[in-house]
Amino acid sequence: MIDMRNRGQGKLAAGLAVGLCIAAVSGCNTSGSSQTPSAGAVRSSGETAPTDLQLLCAARAAEELQVADGNVLPVSSMRSGEAAYQVNLTFTGGQATCVIDESGMVQSVTRV
């Protein structure tokens, strides 16, 4: 029985470790392209989800979570896997996370 409890704790620790690694690299910028940029091209020093994807997440969260005034604000975002983004949202009375793919399909909305 003691051995089984340790396995459960091990799984929890592994989950936390993976999550901490994700948090540690979440602010890192990636160029996202192997093409040489043109002279004078600009970019942001950090990678966020495209603006419109952030808003799609906010709209979906407002609907699914039945936010009273409909005002859901994206406060941060990051890559989630190769072809999706996690968008963190705030609204009166709570927070949520949303995962959305690059085509604009919302994969999940989770109240935090």
């Binding site: 459960g8 929890l12 993976v18 970019r43 005002n71 406060v75």
Partner: protein, 225 residues
């Protein structure tokens, strides 16, 4: 039952990690613009000095900060303004999943903000009156404590759109500028600046009451939420 405990532990770990990632990102430093140096083949910081140098050489800001129509997938109605402070763009939502995109300058570190507000009033060639806290930071602004008349030397530039929360002035504006090379920079006290040609274009397309959504990772404060 033992397997369920293990799975539950892993799930709780991931939820905790998501919350940590949420909190960590919310406290992250604001993002800066970088520009590609084709001579040295690397990305470099687009500092105020680099921006002034670029502007002097080309007569305008980098191409991506020029006004242009882009694809924009959103449920927000046409006439809504979306400000992405991290990427230094302002979008005016148009029909058919398009937007007009403008390059902007935003608040410097400690002055960035995010929220959901609206345009409360609008003014052409507005008077600029520095607030007391600005005069305290910069005594040279004191001579304008009673208001600097509108004109080409006025920091608000050709137009100003005053941002409100309900019926209350948020103190933030979308305005033009007498420093057009600062588009793309984190440089203001929190207001959103466009070059005068762009702000006049935007002004001609929006109305009092228009919804304004301001996105900025690591914002110092939030308005309207």
């Amino acid at each position: 039952m033992i397997r369920k405990t293990a799975r539950r532990g892993a799930f709780l770990g991931m939820v905790a990690a998501a919350a940590l990632a949420f909190a960590g990102l919310a406290m992250a430093q604001s993002f800066q613009t970088q520009i590609y140096d084709s001579v040295n083949r690397k990305w470099v910081d687009y500092t105020p000095r680099a921006a002034a140098k670029y502007y002097n050489r080309h007569g305008q800001s980098p191409e991506e900060f020029q006004r242009q129509v882009v694809q924009f997938r959103t449920a927000e109605k046409p006439g809504t303004i979306i400000i992405d402070g991290d990427r230094h763009f302002l979008y005016l939502v148009q029909p058919n999943f398009q937007a007009i995109r403008y390059g902007i300058g935003v608040g410097r570190d400690g002055f960035g903000w995010a929220g959901i507000v609206k345009i409360g009033r609008m003014q052409e060639w507005p008077t600029w009156t520095p607030p007391p806290e600005m005069i305290a930071r910069d005594p040279s602004a004191a001579k304008w404590r009673n208001g600097m008349p509108g004109g080409p030397d006025n920091p608000l530039g050709a137009r100003a759109m005053y941002l409100y929360i309900g019926n209350q002035d948020s103190i933030y504006r979308i305005h033009g500028t007498n420093e057009p090379w600062t588009i793309g920079l984190n440089i203001s006290s929190g207001c959103i600046r466009l070059n005068n040609e762009d702000v006049a274009d935007l002004y001609s397309r929006v109305e009092v009451g228009a919804k304004v959504i301001v996105l900025m990772q690591g914002a110092a404060l939030y308005k309207g939420v």
